[in-house]
Amino acid sequence: MRTFEVFLKRPGKDEFRHVGSMQAPDPEMAQVLARDSYCRRGEGDQMWLVDRSDVVEVDQEVLATTTDLAHRTNDGSAVAARRKQLRAEGAS
């Protein structure tokens, strides 16, 4: 038996979402079983099945490097402070 991860996309603008896992002997049978397990009421109009052994889980150490890179974001506080100051001056 192979284990498949099931991703379902609801009709419309939603993104694909992981909805669960299931076992099947092969990709052909997996499609039928995935429909019966995860899509009995038209919950999605597209589905991806990914063999679990093909999923690459990214190492925590690789991900960790991205958390201290403050220069990649900007919370806009400097500009907001300036606007606030201008509003205060206009009001007085």
């Binding site: 909805v19 669960g20 299931m22 099947a24 002997p25 009995r40």
Partner: protein
């Protein structure tokens, strides 16, 4: 390197900070054990519940109700199917081990599936009261649920349980508006099923229940049970049915003048008996489930990958 925590305090801080645990994490052993046990219990209950629904497909009156019970059976077995996958992925028992232990009478499942459904009205009482209780308790798990795979399948399970509940309400409405015989059939069923349904929530939670601390459960058993009683006592009375509780009373002063329905002290002995497989119908239920598993062996063998011919 997988995610790991230095000790239970470190793990608790992660949980309290809104963390979600995933299968490949190096989760603390007590978390793995407790969450696994809880999911296995849930999976067993869905399977045993599905088999109850199945019993009534041939006896459901009319095509529409037969279709509803077919779909419900498929839903419940489907719930079990999803949950056994999540449980098996925790690496403590295989699906086959869980099923074999259930059919050997070594595993636990919800108290309500240890009782006999005597008439069609019992099945409606189950659809109305038991599905609603299951819905309330599952929704309370879904609300927080720190174990990712469980939360994802609960989303689907809870939404389907909502359909079951509405079917149950409609079936109750039909009986309530029916003949005197139908009404008295339902009254008898309610008398049999009220306490098992209320007891489904379990006795008061241990304040140190690790499942509360780890945010698998979002509310205590007593909170959920109390809310259920507040909702279903007036609903059932509005249909003209009587709750089988001589001490039931509405205390207008309770809860800062909001008022509350107070019941007699609950006797938990029947619930404890079901947890030892000593309920009125435990033996038959388990042997029916085991027989069904044996009957369907051909499906499992048909699904085994076949060697490719040279």
């Amino acid at each position: 390197m997988t995610r790991t925590w230095s000790d239970l305090d470190d793990f608790q801080a992660f949980i309290d900070g809104g963390g979600m645990v995933e299968p490949n994490d190096d989760m603390p052993a007590p978390y793995r054990d407790e969450v696994f046990r809880f999911i296995e219990f849930h999976a067993n209950s869905e399977l045993m519940g599905g088999l109850t629904e199945r019993d009534w497909i041939p006896r459901a009156p009319g095509v529409r109700l037969k279709q509803i019970f077919l779909a419900k059976t498929q839903d419940e077995i489907g719930h079990a199917h999803l949950l056994y996958q999540v449980a098996a992925d925790m690496g403590l028992k295989t699906r086959t081990e869980m099923l074999e232990q259930l059919f050997d009478g070594r595993s636990r499942f919800h108290n309500v599936f240890h009782y006999q459904a005597v008439t069609w009205a019992d099945q409606i009482a189950i659809a109305y009261l038991v599905d609603a209780a299951a819905f309330a308790s599952q929704r309370a798990v879904f609300a927080e649920c720190t174990y990712g795979p469980y939360k994802r399948v609960l989303k689907r399970i809870v939404s389907e349980e909502g359909f079951h509940m509405r079917h149950g309400e409609e079936m109750l409405l039909r009986l309530a508006e029916g003949t005197d015989t139908q009404r008295s059939m339902f009254q008898d069923a309610l008398t049999r099923w009220w306490w098992p349904a209320v007891q489904l929530f379990g006795p008061d939670s241990d304040p140190n229940d690790p499942l509360l601390r780890w945010k698998i459960k979002s509310q205590t058993n007593e909170t959920l049970r109390h809310a259920y009683i507040q909702k279903y006592v007036p609903l059932l009375q509005s249909y003209g049915f009587e709750i089988p509780d001589d001490n039931l009373r509405f205390d207008a002063e309770a809860e800062d003048g909001k008022g509350a329905w107070l019941t007699t002290d609950i006797d938990w002995e029947p619930l404890k008996a079901t947890m030892r497989q000593g309920g009125p119908d435990s033996r038959r239920r388990i042997s029916t489930a085991a027989a069904n598993y044996a009957d369907t062996a051909w499906v499992r063998s048909a699904l085994e990958p076949k060697p490719v011919a040279a």
